[in-house]
Subunit: 455 residues, 2 copies
């Protein structure tokens, strides 16, 4: 036992000496390059301001793909290509309208149809509104649902310091609320936005219909208007809501994963995938979600090239086609990798925004994680203070399930994410240049270490 | 040696068990209260929107003091009082004007007179401009300075990940640049703003004249205009600048530290001071600097009261009168404490903005720091991941120098701070509610632990 402990200590201290010094200098070089000559912020500006929101299947999708190709070439990729995949084609249509009515007086409410939802009839739907605070309440009161518009007023739980936990908790109302209400005869649903923002912007996002029930219209409501509606309902017996949404689901169309590579010098067959998703919801510019992840990934390639680091393994940047409402890009990428019998060594995803760095989460074997965690101190000067178990991302998920590829997700600070997530406010102006850049610094540092030492 | 180590381990594990459990529950209670019923954000909104920028001696100073008294009473202080102190009375006067001229063509530049600087003559000053990148360059070219306006174009160093290091590095040009140029006959100075913002807002801040030289006008230039001016100078031999500032220093006036207390139950004579500064520069609303520190401090008192925690020691919240251009508030507080022979047990300052938590820095004896560092894991769920040596704050500095009081400074993430510091953009809208609240959570947790366990 003692011997084992000493062997472990020796291993640690062997890494700790000369290697740590060399690595800390290399990471300093990476940071200096990104913090002074970084291109992530400029790339993101072009994506946000010349393409904007880019739902799968939209004309902006093609423009975003062209931006991706150009940016990867500009960053210095050895080769850049498009990987075709079919994507869903949901269109929002004309701007939604909604109001609630008490005694003939209409009060408008700010809504956004949920992604994948079907529009109301062209004339809209008017019905008495029924507020429920949870699915449990819906079940208890299921006999009252018929013919009504159900308003899920489930609150985003501010007590979760890690805001993604609040999102995981609340987003089931967005995802499954329509069909659960339609089951009991509801004619539409409104969902309180999954956010703790101080503004009134509604937050859209994907929903899915259960094919057993009617496909009723579904929309997210801004927080202030949700409170206003809830207050109206609590003090009036008869509140009706008018809801008109204009969305439709068209047949699938061709989209593409945009891929760029630096070919490895020693183990070119070992592929390290780094990515974010290129699609976004349409109300904003998809700046944090997930323009940030795209430019983080491109910047990793750019900085390695710029400082003259030739990776031993192949570094492959993937801008995934369709995360938001189908995960078709990530699915296709893994399918093709399997068909080609590729060797997927490691995968890293950035899809939690361009905020200041906090940590990386890892899904890999315990001995691999232990090895990675030895590097913790190398990240601390750049804001990543923890390397923790558990993590990855939606787009690299299929790769992990197909090959058991070790995976990681970049974890920036999450406090501001749900202020802007899937809302009009997810725009370039809400991304801070240095916070964005530090994400790329830490991601590049991780890729450098994994490429150098292996897992 | 082995015995010593074991004793140390036992001490650690003694704390680690039941106590940690109880403490983690108490801190969870603090966090729940602040994240769901917190008042810091609302207090800050009132300060920013009904008072706004509040330079010492201004009419807004008195309004801010009244806000402080009211907020501390609202938060539940046992008593609230004003501590008088004389403060400098610098007034900016009418809006500054500046442009540079090449071949008769004027290009306006956005400037702000530096705090404490004297205005130009009422007609303004026009002179050839001389760009220097450093004091070293000024010294080398001292024979060229006479009759010119010196433009210090020293760049904020983006390579410092901790942005306060870049500020420490660059701010000497703002503080001492005017007199160093006046020594060689300059008639005015422009200083590149201490910022890495992507906008063009100039960033003001304190300067000081060396009484041996002429008190020439001095102003900060926005970054885009600084680049424009530098480019103009590099491609033209003869660039002149017109500069008109209207500031003056009036006689000192009465101001006040605003103080509120929760009296300790066991050791009321042991005072724990928690504070930020109430004054701010005038262009913005002093939201992060240091409205955030004021409401952080008030919220610590409020939450302890709200959850029914009666401190053993006296918790004293101080909103210091004049940090920005004189430190008169902090100085006065320590003087009076000494005159009254008070027992100052610990002091905590928040003056680095209302951003997401990172760490606390401590100036105290090594054994005290070691004790405090045992609590690190209690903070981690709330974003403070490190408790480090070295720290405090300007306003509690005199207390430390007078009594050797152990001190701490709250350290939020610094990436966005110099985007808004001393600029028009330091407004309420640039403060995130949850980031602000988490600062108060961690500060209250620290105060709870120090009150409970002592140092």
């Amino acid at each position: 036992m003692i011997r084992k402990m000493f062997a472990g200590l020796l291993l640690l201290s062997a890494f700790s000496a000369a290697a740590q010094k060399e690595d800390s200098l290399m990471i300093r070089k990476i940071a200096d390059e990104i913090l002074t000559n970084g291109k992530a912020y400029e790339y993101l500006k072009v994506l946000c301001k010349t393409v904007g929101g880019r739902v799968a299947g939209s004309p902006q999708m093609a423009k975003a793909e062209a931006w991706g190709v150009k940016s990867l070439q500009d960053a210095g990729a050895d080769k850049v290509w498009l990987q075709e995949c079919m994507v869903p084609h949901w269109v929002r249509g004309a701007k939604e309208q909604a109001w609630f009515t008490i005694a003939g007086k209409n009060t408008p409410i700010d809504i956004l149809a949920l992604g994948n939802s079907m529009g109301s009839s062209p004339k809209g739907v008017t019905a008495q509104v029924m507020l429920v605070n949870s699915f449990e309440e819906l079940e208890q009161r299921k006999n009252e649902v018929k013919g009504k518009i159900v308003f899920y007023n489930y609150r985003f739980n501010d007590k979760f310091v890690r805001t993604f936990q609040a999102y995981g908790d609340a987003s089931r109302y967005r995802g499954g609320g329509a069909s659960r209400a339609a089951k009991y005869g509801a004619v539409g649903v409104l969902v309180r936005s999954m956010s703790h923002a101080a503004d009134n912007n509604p937050h859209t996002g994907a929903m899915n219909y259960d094919s057993a029930y009617a496909k009723i219209p579904a929309a997210a409501v801004g927080l202030k208007d949700a409170d206003k509606l809830a207050a109206a309902i609590s003090s009036n017996k008869n509140v009706s809501v008018f809801l008109k949404t204009n969305a439709q689901m068209l047949p699938d169309v061709k989209g593409h994963n945009v891929i760029g590579e630096l070919v490895g010098t020693e183990f070119p067959e070992q592929i390290i995938t780094i990515g974010g998703h290129l699609d976004s919801w349409d109300p904003g510019e998809g700046a944090h979600d997930d323009g940030a992840g795209c430019v983080h990934s491109i910047e990793v390639l750019r900085v390695l090239k710029a400082i003259g680091y030739r990776p031993k393994r192949t570094i492959r940047i993937v801008l995934f086609a369709n995360e938001e409402n189908g995960l078709r890009g990530g699915t296709k990428y893994a399918e093709e990798a399997k068909a080609k019998n590729e060797n997927h060594y490691f995968a890293l995803e950035s899809d939690a925004g361009g905020f200041t760095p906090r940590s990386f989460g890892f899904s890999m074997k315990p001995d691999q994680l232990a090895k990675v965690q030895q590097w913790t101190d190398l990240f601390k000067p750049y804001g990543v203070t923890e390397l923790t178990a558990g993590g990855g991302g939606a787009d690299i998920g299929p790769l992990g399930r197909t090959f058991g590829t070790p995976m990681s997700g970049y974890v920036p600070d999450s406090q501001r994410y749900f202020d802007i997530h899937h809302a009009r406010s997810d725009v370039f102006e809400n991304v801070n240049k240095r916070e964005l850049e530090l994400g790329a610094v830490n991601m590049a540092a991780l890729i450098y270490l994994i490429d150098k030492y292996g897992l």
